[in-house]
């Protein structure tokens, strides 16, 4: 018996609708996050992630309805992030049916919020989402920095130090996104993933850059992540969840195939 590596599809949701779209199944409404969630549930996803990128505060409440309708139909673990800034946001998401919430910019601007959230809801439901970029020059020792505002704004904060601090404050899991690799299809930043995964005691989810199934194998095997997150590779039907999991199993990674 072994804990299995997890494959986590991530859906970007804006104003209650899926952004980028999902083209892999005959969905009645490809823009409805709940339809996509149901399809991923049936396909054997180990967990599902919603990232709310709604900009207008008027439409912020749409995510609660999406989460609630998803929880009504899907009996799989659900992580929701985007705009989580206060204990009240977390409570509402959990009540709607989320199992875990991910905290991103608020963890950078107000690290104590992570401690407050972990004390209130338990470390196991607090995921800190870390966006970083490589800032070391070729030939220098690898160094990564935290970036905010979708990777546009540097903070000067070292990513490894920040990750360790978040765990100390109570993060139960880290969602580690390489902003260099995000959307590049060139694979996870393995050095970044492994450096942080080897330093912290909590599980690390690798994110940003998946272009093929070997990348997912590498995230676990070489990056020492316990879960791999991917978006477009699944949404556009390049590969199914089942294919990905079988491929990883064929390459020596313990997977849940029931």
């Amino acid at each position: 018996m072994t804990l299995k590596a997890r494959v986590i599809p991530c859906l970007d949701v804006k104003d209650g609708r899926v952004v980028k779209g999902v083209s892999f199944v005959d969905l009645i409404d490809a823009g409805d996050p709940v339809e996509s969630a149901k399809a991923y549930d049936a396909a054997g996803a180990d967990e599902l992630c919603f990232l709310d990128i709604t900009a207008s505060s008027d439409n912020r409440d749409t995510i609660f309805d999406v989460v609630a309708r998803t929880a009504d139909h899907c009996f799989m673990p659900l992580t929701v992030g985007g705009g989580v800034r206060a204990v009240a946001d977390i409570r509402k998401l959990l009540l709607a049916g989320a199992d875990k919430v991910s905290i991103n910019s608020a963890a950078v601007s107000n690290p104590d919020f992570v401690a407050e959230a972990a004390d209130k809801f338990g470390n196991q439901c607090i995921v800190v989402s870390i966006d970083s970029k490589k800032v070391s020059k070729p030939g220098e020792e690898d160094r990564w920095e935290i970036f905010t505002h979708g990777g546009r704004q540097a903070t000067g904060i070292d990513a490894v130090t920040f990750a360790e601090k978040m765990v100390k404050l109570g993060a139960g899991e880290l969602l580690l996104t390489s902003m260099d690799r995000d959307g590049s299809k060139s694979g996870y930043d393995i050095a970044l993933t492994r450096t942080i995964a080897d330093k912290v005691s909590v599980p690390v989810i690798a994110s940003g850059g998946v272009g093929n199934l070997d990348h997912m194998v590498e995230g676990i095997r070489d990056g020492h992540a316990t879960a791999v997150l991917a978006a477009s590779i699944f949404h556009f039907g390049t590969h199914s969840i089942g294919e990905a999991k079988r491929y990883m199993a064929e390459h020596g990674i313990a997977m849940r195939l029931d």
Binding site: M1, T2, F75, M76
Partner: protein, 216 residues
Amino acid sequence: MRVAIIDYGSGNLRSATKAFERAAREAGINAEIELTDKADRVASADRIVLPGVGAYADCRRGLDAVDGMRQALSEAVEASARPFLGICVGMQLMSSRGLEKTTTQGLGWIKGDVVEMVPSDPTLKIPQIGWNTLALKKPHPLFNGIKTGEDGLHAYFVHSYHLAVENPDDLIATTAYGGAVTAFVAQGNKAGAQFHPEKSQTLGLALISNFLRWKP
């Protein structure tokens, strides 16, 4: 039949309620699933479910804060011996004591303390988050028709602590995470899952329907 899921301000109760409704529907069991924070609704329920996420002490405080709930549990579960299922911290509360952060008295139904997991393999992460299989230590009606073992179905775990059971008779199933970790306990009419049946898809729905049919 009426199943009371106890709402004491802890956890993801919506998905638990929905999972019980779906399990009942799919198994053709006529059951009303009621999420309630009222002690009298629990005392008079046919079956009782105690969910829970977060820290042991917080959950215990939350349970005690609901007027008459402790008494209702005594009446229904101890005196009337109605079927009870604890989930995650709801299961851990069945123990003698919880040692998470501070020492907290449990309900005292299953002898043993809830202790931190210390995996023998230092590369294993805490919390254990994800899917693992179960080793059945002895048969139990809640596992009827559920394939366990290395090639069996998976259960979803999210936890850093587990119940170190004193009496081996109470231990129904374990999982492996750098050593044996308590996954399921039972004694008489009381059962408890460390994993989340409401999130465990095939295994979870089967276990919930077995609970709805259970005649301890």
